[in-house]
């Protein structure tokens, strides 16, 4: 079973939930694979402190120009939809940061003046501790596109009993790439106007893509009705509430696993796990 943990808004507690759920399941003797797909800003490793066993650099195909061969026909700049090629006199300039790696240019060039080269976009690391398998990706700084790296992380996911996918914030292509293929999506929010608005966007995404999904309220407070009213209207289940407790924030700040340190919160995660198990499609 693949559980994706997402949110529209950043900083609502996705990684906290992912880490604590993975930790709980591993302690229940399940084979768990935690995939940190927030490759721009991965954080799960800060809490799990896994001993990294392997690191693999990830490359994408980008064009490289051999201007000796270029006749200046301009077909490559015509096919490129992303402005990553410019023809200046009889010379091609490549802007690899704009390239979407579609392969159009080197396929269309009859002179073989553009060839397929490799560009490093980041790395994927793996660790294993007991029955918890951990995988994360990290983009190279100034590398704009994260979906290919997210896909590389997900390809490493194995046939664990449970795969937990920590997604990047937002509702655009990185988030879509991360939730794809999930059996269930947990949307983490907080009971504030910002939390509600961004939750609505995230719910639009999961509804449009027909995912089975539920909501977790983090920093739960007297404002929970903001989220509860919306969830009722959308016929979505509130799976769990994590209280707005400064003790949690303080322990989180140090990079700790909440249920290990504050056992009274373990039950929240146990109940959450049960609810998801009942909801899987």
């Amino acid at each position: 079973m693949k559980i994706a943990i997402a949110s529209g808004k950043g900083g609502t507690g996705k990684s906290t939930l992912a880490v604590n759920l993975a930790y709980l399941l591993s302690k229940m003797n399940k084979n768990v694979c935690l995939l940190d797909c927030d490759v721009e800003e991965p954080n799960c490793h800060i809490f799990l402190k896994p001993e990294i066993k392997s690191t693999q650099k990830i490359f994408l195909p980008v064009p490289e120009a051999d201007n000796e061969k270029c006749t200046g026909c301009g077909k490559c700049t015509e096919i490129c939809q992303f402005n990553s090629l410019a023809l200046i006199k009889n010379s091609i300039m490549v802007f690899p940061e704009l390239c979407h790696n579609c392969g159009g240019c080197w396929r269309i060039c009859s002179e073989k003046a553009l060839v397929k080269a490799q560009k490093e976009i980041g790395e994927v690391q793996e660790a294993k501790s007991g029955n918890l398998h951990f995988i994360h990706g990290k983009t190279k700084i100034a590398e704009p596109m994260s979906p290919p790296l997210i896909n590389a992380v997900k390809e490493k996911g194995n046939s664990a009993d449970v795969e937990i996918i920590d997604c990047p914030p937002g509702t655009s292509c990185p988030m879509i790439a991360a939730i794809e293929g999930a059996d269930y999506v947990i949307l983490v929010t907080e009971p504030t106007p910002f939390g509600l608005y961004d939750l609505k966007l995230a719910v639009d995404v999961v509804k449009k893509l027909k995912f089975n999904a539920g909501i977790v309220i983090n920093k739960s407070s007297y404002n929970d009705h903001l989220i509860e009213d919306f969830a009722a209207k959308k016929n979505m289940e509130i799976l769990a509430k994590i209280p707005d407790d400064k003790k949690i924030a303080e322990y989180y700040s140090t990079g700790g696993i909440i249920i290990e340190k504050i056992p009274e919160y373990k039950e929240i995660f146990e109940n959450l796990n049960e609810r998801i198990s009942n909801n899987k499609r």
């Binding site: 950043g10 721009e40 800003e41 096919i79 939809q81 579609c102 509702t171 655009s172 106007p193 966007l201």
Partner: protein, 289 residues
Amino acid sequence: MKELVIISGKGGTGKTSITASLAALAKHKVMVDCDVDAADLHLVLKPETVYKEDFYAGKLARINPDKCTCCGKCIDLCSFNAISSSIKIDGIKCEGCSVCAHFCPENAVEMTDKKSGEWFESETRFGKLIHAKLGIAEDNSGKLVTKIRNHARLVAGRENAELIIIDGSPGVGCPVIASISGANLALIVTEPTMSAIHDARRVYELTRHFKIPVCICINKYDLNLELTGQIEDFCREGNIGVVGKIPYTNEFTEAMIKELTLIEYSNNETSVQLIQIWEKLNEICNSNS
């Protein structure tokens, strides 16, 4: 005219709440919300839209079933797995590269314009706000950011504004790069947590890569004083200015619920800090030429 961009790496450190307060304090400015896939600034600024435009970016492939012979060449050529075995285009996966259209032996693929979202020029109680809404599950957020930043420059020029305040998005990817490029100053909002520090370092590296001057604000500084000390040490070593420290407080949420900036909502330690932060930022903006 100067451009100040507020970023953080990690989400939820307080970018938008702080941006809104700066909007309340600064004079002669235009605001831009560049967090186009989860924009929140409008929830506090309550904009009234005076101009709206659809945003078209990129293309979408469409198969003409009358011409298609189902040869499957396009499936092999597509780098995005966007074409199914029954030759159906997945509109979400298609990146509009047009490779299928170019190489289809039957000319059965047509590239169509795709609406990726919309953007707005609005009036607020603090001046003009340029903001946008990316369509559900759309890409091209970087292009939309560039579009609204360009429009903000136009509006700022028209209104003789001295400053553009840009609310950025979390992360270090495409929309963040588009939000910071060419800005005069980036304010990194961080907090004393291991994750936020990790993420702030990465976004700081990004600002260095693009040679954007940077300063730091520590939000919730009293949550973990030891880590706050570490952030200050890091800033001292890197010669990065710390423009202020804001305490851990519920007031931002309370103000947000009342649809107010913290400056309008309260008049205490936090708002005094924010005023000092604004004064320092203003000074840095005006001294960096």
